[in-house]
Subunit: 341 residues, 2 copies
């Protein structure tokens, strides 16, 4: 458990509350080890994530992360040195981000239709690899580069995972999102991998759209999407937009998954640490609770995961009729009560 | 005039019709030279844009472009070999894309507020430079890279242009959009250039958001934006989304501007060639007509540009009340009639 910064500890507390409640009376035991990582540790020691941390965390079955980030830490330090380091070190090549518009949830769209898709964002390549650099920094002759690295190995495995997920869903539809008319080398690699893996999944319908067009569809016709597979950066952008149209990042859950099981997978809300409301019990813990559901599903506890999702659905439907605002822990209490067997 | 493919010739015809109408009776003369560039030429000769073409086009004062692209041409050939080649060869470093939600225009947003912003998208650097490559193509060991190149020279000039545009607008607000917490080298270069140029524009308010968060704001609170400055790829993505929320790409105009005047600037609708509706008089020429307004403004014909914008506004307001669909040339006729002095 990495609670992290800002609202992280508050939302993670509710995630664990619901986890305990849904497993109460079952034969599943949860042992949780808290790791003090994030801004406070960096301010105190200058450390983000040591080899010893990584080695210790690697022994766990799964990671629940709250949020990382603090305005007092220079941009990039905790993102690259902690969050992305975990994703890369544990080879989280499937960054799974479901988008469901639950009945009763306010959405900025006038007429959204039935939105239920999942983005499979590649998690270990693309422009996120950190293979950039800069020359003559601070002078008028400065040049800065960022290199997007894409390999057949890396693309094929995430594409295969996305196909399998599409095949397991009723609509069986996969949309590749890229920009192969401009980023021709990376784009054509992605395209060829999708074409190749498609032969293993003849019952899955395959579709393509450029990333710019995808943002149009996400606001004009989000119901068209079933499973989207895309690169690390496009996935980052599209999933924030997807969260916005399905009720906001207060509800958006994610899993950073290593499907081989070689390393622990990590589950986290899509939102950030929101320092402006930290410590005030104002954060919505629902995204973290839904991330706990993804964690349970990943561990094969499908029934318990489904119970959490149903609890959230009911809770959201009842919120819709009410004007009362609830504290972070009140929402957690309500969800915990609903999932209790 | 590069009419191009698909609906390109139809919408450009209406753009020229309105251009003639707005200049009729004035002392401004327009001489138009058509250049046959695009899919047909490529199919016939294998050429996209020759040095001779470039040299000839360079002699003009401005370029009006319809749309480029055809499903029969491999992805990237015309984009890189023609459209982007023009933008790069003529050093169109300001890719200007205004987003205005005109009264009466249908928008997918339930409650958009007053949307009136302009995106200044960098046009000659970033991941669009084509500095990528691939190794061992088609094998399981393939690696493909795309390099985003950013220079102090290139970023500073577009940032300064964006500040000047912000200063000339009532709200005087500039938002930098990037992803400096992950793309640290490029992102921090952009950030430092904005901080440096800001000292020349003390009356402009400066703001920053990550590209993922920007997509959230664009659907939840687009009214917050005034001028956005961003890189080539982020600008591509954000302006399609911006078009979607302000009535669709049928209305979105753009200018590829070389502010120094060393090369002709190029004006084009944001939409593509839409081969599915080509030749059927179904395309909305409004985006091209608004691109003609940007062209006139660039040439200093501000009054005529404003007349076109007012004509479009009135036309759109009247459309809103009607269920009749008009052909491409009927819309052009209506706009031409309105702008005639
Ligand atoms: C905080 C940041 C590094 C991260 C990302 O870009 O992946 C976040 O935006 C996300 O989507 O999880
Ligand atoms: C067609 C394509 C190369 C182009 C771009 O990516 O710039 C288009 O999407 C645009 O926005 O003008």
């Amino acid at each position: 458990m990495i609670a992290g910064d800002g609202i992280g500890p508050e939302v993670v507390a509710e995630g664990l509350k619901v986890l305990d409640a849904v497993l109460a009376g079952s034969d599943v035991d949860v042992a949780t080890t808290p790791y003090e990582l994030g801004a406070a540790r960096w301010h105190a020691t200058g450390e983000t994530l040591t080899d010893a941390d990584l080695e210790a965390i690697a022994k766990h079955e799964a990671i629940l992360l709250g949020a990382i980030g603090d305005p007092g830490v220079p941009s990039g330090v905790l993102e690259r040195g902690l969050l992305l380091k975990l994703r890369f070190a544990f080879d989280h090549f499937v960054n799974l981000r479901p988008s469901v518009l639950y009945p009763g949830v306010p959405t900025p769209l006038g007429n959204p239709g039935e939105v239920d898709f999942v983005v499979v964002r590649e998690g270990t390549e693309g422009p996120y690899v950190g293979n950039g650099g800069a020359l003559r920094v601070g002078t008028p002759a400065e040049i800065a580069t960022e290199v997007s690295v894409n390999t057949a190995y890396g693309v094929e495995r995430v594409v295969r995972d996305a196909f399998a997920r599409a095949q397991a869903r009723p609509r069986k539809k996969l949309t590749l999102v890229h920009k192969h008319n401009v980023l021709v080398h990376a784009g054509h690699l992605w395209r060829r991998q999708v074409e190749a893996v498609a032969t293993e999944f003849p019952d899955v319908t395959v579709d393509y759209c450029h990333v710019d067009a995808a943002t149009i569809y996400l606001v004009n016709d989000p119901a068209r999407f079933d499973v989207i597979v895309t690169d690390n950066l496009f996935g980052d952008i599209l999933t924030d937009l997807a969260a916005a149209i399905t009720g906001g990042i207060g509800l958006a859950a994610s899993g950073n998954i290593n499907p081989t099981g070689e390393f622990p997978s990590m589950f986290e809300p899509v939102h950030g640490s929101a320092p402006d409301i930290a410590g005030q019990q104002k954060a919505d813990p629902t995204a973290t609770v839904l991330s706990v559901a993804l964690l349970l599903e990943h561990l094969g506890l499908t029934e318990q995961a489904a119970r959490i999702v149903r609890a959230v659905e009911t809770d959201i439907a009842e919120r819709a009729g009410s004007t009362a605002t609830r504290t972070t822990s009140e929402i957690g209490d309500a969800l915990a009560a609903r999932v209790a067997g």
